[in-house]
């Protein structure tokens, strides 16, 4: 019998560095794809309800979250993961519910106080993530003050940069109900910051990110559907609005798909560098969102010099903050504290210690089925057919786009996807 609380063998320094590199690269790639997820939704110029837009994106997310894991690892491997730690399904569904409520709150926050105030408020989720990481999962424990300062200072710099960027990108911010808007933005930040507790718990215990997101999305879609039904006043009204918007649903589904790719990398960042570093790095999505808005959709064209100064200053601050966090990677001493937190979790829930240790080291303790089953191909085929179907009836709106920049940004995103995907595969085999 293996003692679950026995001191785990230390990872060698080279392996730890490679895992940290894969995690940091995942955080930056997550930022690029999460930021680009907004772009397809800008093609929707129809006056749809914000909650219906959010629901349609979540439906795209649902399709992608069931098909991508089936393609990358197969449902058999996901089932094997879940059998090791079935209690984590509760946390995955809970995290999905947190995401859906937070996303809906942001829509109301933008309506009431405008993006310039709302965005920095909910971006404070990274500060909450640092707190939860330290309190529950031993993050930033056993590390020197220089690295702690790197993470905290980096998050503070990114917060300042986010504020400047949000001020610059808010043109004609609505004047509304300030107290309600501030409450909505702060609540969204609290929900998104807390959502990382389930993420980190699952990955410390050994669950594969691809298995976690499969159940996360169930909570996400059920909660979003409930919110949309309440908002629209029943099934008939919601169905009528969705049917009326069928020629633009493709863009929303596509936005959801792009978001899933970003979120998948965010999950690997949370797993390998922890939430205190992973959340701020994926918050660089604001930079990418701004790049799409400025370069492709021509936002802020003809703006004042002050606005451009804010954009440049905010971008530099965010980049500096992200760099400070990237340079403050976990040391061997801190990683040992992570292993202690993982052993505590394993003992509490009776999980095989070998499984927990292997997963934290980015390895697989069991047999990973490499062949895909008929179920996997059905899921992939069904999702592809749905996208193609909506794509065929999609209407392309009359918008002036910077096509050169579309190509440039897409190439950059694909390069990050391939580079980080290859690094993750080589280092962890997507474990």
């Amino acid at each position: 019998m293996v003692d679950p609380l026995a001191r785990a063998p230390e990872l060698d320094a080279r392996r730890l560095r490679r895992l940290q590199l894969a995690g940091m690269a995942s955080g930056f790639t997550a930022g690029a794809w999460l930021g680009a997820a907004e772009a397809p939704t800008k093609m929707v110029t129809l006056g749809l309800s914000p909650v219906v837009i959010s629901l349609a994106m979540v439906l795209g997310v649902f399709l992608a979250r069931w098909s991508l894991p089936a393609l990358l690892r197969g449902t058999a491997a996901i089932g094997a993961d879940v059998r090791q730690a079935p209690h984590l399904i509760v946390w995955a569904v809970l995290a999905g519910c947190l995401w859906a409520v937070a996303n809906t709150l942001t829509i109301f926050a933008i309506r009431d106080i405008g993006l310039s105030i709302a965005f920095p408020l909910w971006n404070a989720n990274s500060l909450l993530g640092i707190l939860w990481g330290a309190v529950f999962f031993n993050e930033l424990h056993g590390t020197g003050w220089r690295r702690r300062l790197g993470v905290l200072g980096g998050a503070a710099l990114m917060f300042a940069g986010a504020t400047l960027l949000a001020v610059a990108s808010a043109a004609g911010a609505p004047a509304g109900h300030a107290a309600r808007g501030v409450a909505a933005a702060l609540a969204a930040g609290a929900l998104w910051g807390t959502m990382y507790i389930p993420y980190r718990k699952a990955y410390l215990t050994g669950m594969n990110p691809l298995a976690f997101i499969t159940f996360f999305t169930v909570g996400e879609v059920v909660m979003m559907l409930a919110l949309a039904l309440v908002d629209r006043g029943g099934i008939a009204a919601l169905a009528a609005e969705l049917a009326g918007a069928r020629d633009v649903l493709f863009w929303l589904l596509l936005g959801g798909f792009v978001w899933v790719v970003g979120d998948l990398f965010q999950q690997y960042a949370a797993k390998y560098v922890g939430i205190s570093r992973g959340i701020p790095l994926s918050n660089t999505n604001q930079l990418w969102g701004l790049a799409w808005g400025l370069l492709v959709f021509g936002e802020l064209r003809g703006g004042a010099a002050t606005t451009y100064g804010q954009v440049i200053g905010g971008s530099l601050l965010m980049a500096l903050g992200a760099l400070a966090i990237a340079l403050a990677s976990a040391t061997g001493a801190e990683h040992r504290r992570w292993q202690e937190a993982a052993a505590r979790e394993g003992a509490r829930y009776g999980i095989d210690p070998a499984y927990v240790r292997a997963a934290l080291a980015g390895e697989s303790s069991g047999v990973s089925p490499s062949r895909r089953s008929w179920l996997d191909w059905t899921l992939v085929g069904g999702a592809t057919a749905t996208f193609v179907g909506f794509g065929m009836v999609a209407r392309v709106p009359q918008l002036t786009l910077g096509w050169g920049w579309v190509a440039g940004l897409t190439v950059a995103m694909l390069a990050l996807l391939c580079g980080t995907g290859w690094l993750l595969w080589r280092t962890t085999r997507f474990n």
């Binding site: 946390w91 947190l98 409520v101 109301f108 609290a190 959502m195």
Partner: protein, 32 residues
């Protein structure tokens, strides 16, 4: 009650997200 369920019910990592979710739903209900 199984040991796993008992462990879940005594786990602060379950109740903190549940409390935050309920608070978020209350804020949403208030601002609508």
């Amino acid at each position: 009650m199984s040991a796993r369920l008992a462990a879940m019910l005594h786990d602060a990592q379950l109740w903190v997200p549940v409390a935050v979710l309920i608070a978020g739903l209350l804020v949403l209900w208030w601002i609508r």
